[in-house]
Amino acid sequence: MHIDPATLPPLDDMIACPHCDTLHMEDDLPDGARAYCRRCGALLLTAESRAVVWLVSLASAAVVLMVAAVSFPFLDLSLQGQHNGTSVIHAILVFGSGKAIPLAIAVALFIVVLPLVRLLALLHALAPLVRGVPPTPSARVAFALTDQLRPWAMAEIFMVGVTVALVKVAGMADVTVGPAFWAFVALVLITIFNDQIMNRFAIWKALDTGTTA
């Protein structure tokens, strides 16, 4: 198949499916609609006028929860009169004092550093839009970072790990959960919800137009 470029729509009116390269017209969707690729079925674009406002408010809440989740007591273990209560920060420091340093660094990155970087970058990119100000020049770099780091932020996987660890240790000692545990649960729920409503193409469109809709 050979296509005469003159017969194509203007480049900025099209988007290409990132999975199969098929060209589509970037039409305005009615609110709440979703557009899928005609060839491979990948989700391309969602239209949710409140998505940006939701993302910014929830990401702000998540940053506060993250601070609580890493600094307050997370779990407390007691066995024969001995206690060991730890916060996530304390745990990473203790854990990272011996030969387990590489593992401690990896865990700290996956569950604290990268999720926090993602949240802050998202806020930096989108907060101006909510206030009705044009996005800053670095907004694009910040959102690209949020998007690229997505597979590497593993807070929700960590929570499943916590559940398994609690079951494993339940037989040998008493474990009580602290406030940070519940902060982490809330954080994970927000992260899952945010990633559901965050559509990359819609956000690039919002950054182009400088509006939240």
Partner: protein
């Protein structure tokens, strides 16, 4: 070719950016003229097809498989109590959970630590091999497999977090202590390498096989 009211080609047929002599950004969907090298919208690098994609896929995949070997041979957890010292491997940990009747948790750990990694090795190798052979069949199924592999790979990290939590929590002087074994780091590396392998795969290659432009 039909034309729309706008007088354009109108994309009534399925046309790829490559066939149209254009180049598309896989991060933000922006379409550029064929000679662009950097996306004007998100500043990401542009490549019509990642020509070295399969080399990177195989390299990371082999690294992931190699790291998976010590991850299974060496202990994941070193447990020391007043009475005994024990070591458990990934599979040993699953058997221990079964022994205490925690079937659901045993299933989660087994799926995350054994089924997903092994399934992922096979799936990525199959996808890369299919592209190299120029397979035109089952494109939708292969694309679906790619989606699943990309989504599920990170969940293998569960057991590494279990080790991290137990090692931080169970540190009671003299009574009991749990420490991470060599396998914990090998396993974490295996998961990271396999994730990089899946990320290096360019899914557009699956869909190119039945296109005449190469």
């Amino acid at each position: 070719m039909e034309s729309t009211g706008h007088g354009h080609h109108g994309l009534t047929t399925l046309t790829t950016a490559r066939e149209a002599g254009l180049i598309a950004c896989t991060r933000c969907g922006q379409v550029h003229a064929g000679d662009a090298v950097k996306c004007k919208r998100c500043h990401g690098p542009l490549q019509s097809r990642d020509t070295r994609s399969l080399q990177k896929v195989w390299a990371w995949l082999i690294a992931g498989m190699i790291a998976f070997i010590p991850a299974n041979l060496y202990p994941m957890l070193l447990t020391r109590t007043l009475l005994e010292r024990s070591e458990s491997t990934i599979v040993g940990g699953v058997i221990e959970l079964l022994h205490y009747g925690n079937y659901g948790i045993a299933a989660i750990v087994f799926v995350a630590s054994v089924v997903i990694p092994v399934g992922k090795f096979i799936a990525i190798a199959y996808l890369a091999w299919g592209v190299q052979r120029g397979h035109r069949l089952r494109q939708h199924q292969r694309h679906r497999l790619y989606d699943i592999v990309e989504f599920i790979g990170r969940w293998s990290m569960i057991d590494v977090f279990v080790v991290a939590i137990l090692s931080a929590l169970v540190q009671l002087n003299g009574i009991a202590a749990i420490n991470p074994g060599v396998a914990a780091l090998s396993f974490a590396l295996s998961v990271v390498f396999t994730m990089l392998s899946a990320l290096a795969f360019d899914p557009r290659l699956i869909w190119d096989a039945d296109r005449t432009v190469s």
